[in-house]
Amino acid sequence: MGYLSKILNLVWKDLVIEFRAKEILSVMLIFAILVPIILAFSLNSAQETTENIFPGIIWVALTFSGILGFNRTFLNEKQNDSLLGLMLTPVDRTAIYFAKVIVNFTMMIFTEAVTLPLLFILFDFRFRGSILTLVLVIFLGTLGFTSVSTFLSALSANTRASEILLPIILFPIIIPVIIAAVQSTGIVLVGASIGEIASWIKLLGVYDVIFMAVPFILFEYILEV
């Protein structure tokens, strides 16, 4: 089997485990709805202001529920020290990274697919933009967020207090994604053309490329025993 099919094998394994346990995804889903509710109460959102804060609410919800889930990325691998078993198999370390990114990305997309429509209803938001552009923005934002988070969760998994360490090391790093994603989502939601968000899309693209490539190089070091 080649590199790609090994990645698929790794992804298959994680998704089957997650499908059985439903531990992570259920928490992510609930949290992604719960956070906006808290925000709705604390921001006292009147109908006029909703338009301004809605994109922010979306991304705060997604980042928070994402972090909650990503903390568990390497939990399966710790149970019986199977990460060690994985590293003994003849597969490039980077395949392990990409497989984890794909798994996390899948879970994020699933969370988004379920919660976003609910948020539109909850905040009674009239969507005026193009769905395709919104999907593009969310895709790029989620990709950048996921690739960095996966890498940093591998990093923090080495420590005993990984669950409290991850948010602290992750948030400063993902600030560009948050800014670009919130801004471009906001523009798309009110129905602007893709030209108006071109520079934000570019920023997201650059971020995605940098933070896929660098972990790709560094991941091997992180996994060293």
Binding site: M1, K6, N9, W12, I17, D81, L86, P90
Partner: protein
């Protein structure tokens, strides 16, 4: 280090006349490891665990091979049960199956007998014997003198990370091995 998880601080690992660190992927294909950790996924069934690891090792005719190894460790009737429900001994047996699924040329054992029940010990011994008869290399690290003596052709005693004694196993009795070991530790 021999399993190439840690880069050696000095020198290199040479297996069968070839430097192992030069082509780690090829090398990893040839080794199997049994340790006191099972490396298994609790939420997967025995079959899925073997399927997963078999695919990682590019095992040809994987389904047939899974059936072979699973009967070898006597878990044929628990094939589709999740590992979570297995007893410690059963998990260890499955771990043995996992380690030999790709027919490794060299098998590393790190304290393999810790936590094994009698059935598992017997199975492990059979597996090792079979591999030995197939002219495979087996390297076992243990603190159990009796097992060490019974199993091995060559015995190496390490104290403080250095080889302090090397001898063919048949030259020693259990008593003399114990004395020898204690003397060597004391000398340091």
């Amino acid at each position: 280090m021999l399993a190439l998880l840690t880069p050696p601080s000095a020198g290199e690992v040479i297996i069968a006349g070839q430097s192992a660190s030069a082509k780690p992927l090829n090398y990893r294909k040839k080794i199997g490891v049994i340790s006191h950790n099972t490396f298994l996924y609790n939420n997967l069934s025995a079959y899925e665990n073997l399927l997963f690891y078999g695919r990682m090792y590019d095992v040809p005719n994987l389904k047939k091979r899974i059936n072979e190894v699973i009967s070898e460790v006597g878990l044929k009737y628990s094939l589709n049960d999740p590992v979570r429900n297995f007893s410690r001994g059963m998990q260890q047996r499955l771990s043995i199956a996992r380690a030999i699924i790709h027919e490794p040329e060299i098998l590393f054992l790190d304290e393999p007998y810790t936590g094994l029940d009698q059935a598992a010990v017997k199975i492990l011994n059979n597996v090792l014997l079979k591999l030995k008869n197939n002219e495979r290399t087996i390297l076992m690290v243990t603190h159990n003198f009796e097992q060490a003596l019974n199993m091995s052709d060559r015995l190496v005693i390490l104290v403080g990370g250095r080889i302090v004694h090397e001898t063919p196993g048949s030259f020693l009795t259990l008593e003399s091995l114990k004395d020898l070991y204690l003397n060597l530790v004391e000398e340091r």
